[in-house]
Subunit: 315 residues, 2 copies
């Protein structure tokens, strides 16, 4: 068996590829644009050539290939993605080599990475919630991500936290995402202040006492505290792992969020909040685990050193 | 092996006991009061003598005993119940006979009953939500109830559906239960109208055009639709099984609830709502399945005829 797998995390904007060895070393990584504007067939074609190039970088045929893709997905088929536009693509159609392949849902594959290698390593039941342009969740139960009866689960970004709140781009009302995603924070600040700002800039403005920045941030924290209160009461997680760009705000987010979660919960303790450990590599590393599973090694990662975390980030 | 098990569903007010045969027939049932006011030791003692009497009714030693109890519970220990007051009671301490025994959480054991024998028989992933004096949920995944990392999961009655809403008896604010339980409907109608009514009477008053009854019912439906929207987005269930006293309201509840759930969900279909099939026997029948599992028959119930549903209800 080859000593490495090829792993690919396919997003709507970019793809992160990696060569991950049997001992969990990230031997090579690369980022490429996703040619979404050229249609689903072009995306599949660019995935194929990316995998080919990663195999060459690894030094030959990999033991397996793992892919994290958006939308509705089974281990063998990418059934549907509104974002990319494909319908029912077989796993083998992504791979130009004769090696085993396994697909996973993008957010849940990131959750698998955090479960086996990252912030969820010591626990078996937790929520991984990456907060970036959008918000979704990986519900990890008994160590494995759970996607629901069909695979549409984990849509914590669209639960109605404020029932009579603002309309969301998804067509619903009062969704978490419309208050607390990084883009929502930037958008809401810009709309109220009249001057453009990113969520990172909003976070910086808070230090200077900007009242609009404070109000917008406060709404985001309140919305997140409601969503995490609900999640905690329903699913009793051991911990909640905050990921994505907004988790980089550190204490500015985590401290008030933990405090409100504690206050909202009256008859049970709040689970601790942790910061995701794998950063932008979560999906790629989760895909590497899928690649090793495809190759017939289901325990991949459990004995890997956390030194994997010291590997250089994707460019 | 004996041809029957003894099953007991222990509630804060009453206990439902049954003798359930190898073929799924309810050979005998009885209901007794739970002597909660005399303390936890008296409750354990009354459970022991109830089991003894049920064994006699069955004609000797049962193959196993299954118990559904409230609070925090493992298959071998009743760890804690605020309602009954016990702490860490071993499963064997409930049983005066030398036969295998298995414990389960009350609501989740009802969910197991509905999963194997009732409205969840044809599906593997669903929510069982009994709506009575209180509201709790059994989250059934892959056919089995999931209780969370420790066992505090399923508290859908206390998720904050209206973040700035009315205070709940639990100490939180805007909980589903404080708007939509049968007792909440009666309490809120009585508070607004000045005349006492049960939830059943409130349901009857709607037919006569009573505006207060309509408003209170509408709040309950709205609160439930928000909770079920959230559940659907998070856990993508195949169906939602409505149980408890309020499900007896039939279309008066189910029709507007299904309509609002459909309206709240913009980018995915709503799961169908079903009425629970086992009624007040759900917990006792689930406990019978636990009793058969304790006796070494994990597949108990899967081949039982649904004729079990035609058995007489508990007195």
């Amino acid at each position: 068996m080859s000593s490495f797998v090829v792993a690919l995390d396919v997003g709507g904007t970019s793809m992160k590829g990696g060569v991950v060895t049997h001992s969990g070393e990230i031997a090579f990584t690369e980022r490429r644009d996703t040619p979404r504007e050229r249609g689903p067939a072009a995306v599949v074609e660019s995935i194929r050539s990316f995998i080919d190039d990663l195999a060459v970088a690894g030094g030959g045929d990999p033991a397996g290939v793992g892919l994290a893709v958006p939308g509705l997905v089974t281990p063998n088929r990418a059934l549907y993605s509104a974002n990319i536009g494909w319908r029912d693509v077989k796993a083998e159609d992504f791979v130009p080599l004769d090696v085993p392949v396994m697909l996973g849902h993008d957010v849940r594959t990131g959750g698998l990475g955090e479960s086996v290698l990252g912030a969820g390593r010591e626990v078996s039941d937790f929520l991984f919630i990456p907060i970036g342009t959008g918000i979704a969740g990986a519900i990890v139960l008994h160590g494995e991500p759970y996607g629901g009866s069909v695979g549409w689960g984990g849509e914590i970004g669209h639960i109605p936290v404020f029932p009579d709140g603002e309309p969301c781009a998804c067509g619903q009302v009062g969704c978490l995402e419309t208050y607390a995603s990084a883009s929502a924070i930037g958008r809401r600040y810009s709309a109220r202040s009249g001057s453009h700002a990113t969520s990172k800039q909003v976070a910086e403005l808070i230090a200077s006492g900007d009242p609009v920045a404070n109000a917008v941030w406060d709404d985001a924290v309140e919305a997140l505290s409601l969503a995490l209160t609900t999640y905690t009461l329903l699913l009793d997680p051991e911990t909640i792992v905050l990921g994505g760009g907004l988790a980089e705000a550190g204490d500015l987010l985590a401290v008030p969020l933990a405090e409100r979660l504690r206050k909202r919960l009256a008859f049970r303790a709040a689970p601790p909040l942790r910061k995701a450990a794998l950063g932008v590599n979560a999906g790629m590393l989760g895909a590497a685990l899928l690649g090793w599973r495809a190759a017939g090694w289901p325990e991949a990662g459990t004995a890997w050193s956390l030194d994997v975390l010291k590997s250089p980030p994707v460019a």
